[in-house]
């Protein structure tokens, strides 16, 4: 029973580690007490004053075009309407794309269970991860009411338009799953 349990735990741990490397980390924060029914229209807001995003993404017209298209589609699917030109939108959206080096160190204790020999050393993997952050701001009060993000390894994605488009689509559609439906 016990060795089997250890083995199963090791398998679960390994699966979690692998899943962490291969997939996107998508999540969001919001104000849970907020009444969303007052919001109907949206538009693109001015960029925030944070340090500029990574030029490999933010200066790429293809990236901008696909990201904005995916966000507009996701908003429309939730029942929000793009504000007509000259209108007063209820919501302002902006996004931010950064790339940073990340270091993953495999947990030593869990790994020892998995391999059971002294030969195993902590495995460190170094990779570049992008973070796409999408902010939704209440236009009247200029307060952030929702933030979604997706993080993933950019290897093989940068410079490959097909993979980049699929990454954007998956990132945006998954992060918007948590957004309430417009009334």
């Amino acid at each position: 029973m016990r060795p089997q349990f250890l083995r199963s735990t090791a398998v679960v741990a390994a699966a979690l580690l692998l899943a962490g490397c291969a997939t996107l980390r998508v999540s969001s924060h919001t104000d849970r007490a907020l009444v969303w029914s007052k919001y109907k229209t949206f538009d693109w807001g001015p960029a925030d004053a944070l340090p500029a995003g990574d030029p490999r993404l933010e200066k790429d017209p293809y990236f901008e075009d696909k990201t904005e298209g995916a966000i507009e589609k996701a908003m429309a699917a939730r029942g929000f309407v793009l504000s007509p030109v000259g209108g007063r939108p209820d919501l302002l959206i902006h996004y931010h794309a950064t790339i940073a080096e990340r270091l993953d160190v495999e947990d030593t204790e869990r790994r020892d269970n998995a391999c059971g020999s002294a030969e195993c050393r902590p495995r460190v993997s170094r990779y570049e991860a992008d973070t796409l952050v999408v902010d939704i701001v209440d236009a009247a009060s200029n307060v952030l009411i929702w933030r979604g993000w997706a993080q993933g390894n950019v290897e093989g994605v940068l410079g490959n338009r097909d993979r980049l488009r699929r990454r954007i689509d998956e990132s945006v559609s998954r992060m918007f799953e948590s957004l309430p439906q417009a009334q």
Binding site: F5, S27, T98, V133
Partner: protein, 161 residues
Amino acid sequence: MFRCTRLTTIAACATAALILSGCATLGVHSYLARDADFAHYRSYAWVEPAQFATGDPRLDNNRFFSQRVEDAMDMQLAGRGFEKTSPAAADVLIHIHVRADRGATPEEPAALFVDVIDRRTTSLAWRGWAEGGLDDVVDNQRWMEARIDEAVTKIIARLPR
């Protein structure tokens, strides 16, 4: 059915282990300036930075994070008998900042810093900080809030009085 139950148990154990390992990594420290006069500090005010920059794109200007820290701080400081007042009248000014995780580097884990600044002398009177256990909970808002509450409670518990 048997297999299913066992799998559920394993999953629950794995989850519990992950959560516990997260808790265990929260290290709390503080620094007290030699000339700090905590016996006379009664009131405080917040110094709101124009930008809440952290180095973690998920947390930069994220009011769901910064507001939670402020709320937790207000509660803990009230519990310690501090009165919240305007920046012009406060004995001390409180400033928070975050050092983001550079990606699971054990040498420099993500940390939440609380600075207590003497308003009259404008020098740092006290700094408390909690390291680790932050990066992995940001992706779950409720876990993040619980971790912020835990970190702030432990930081303020070290405040001299």
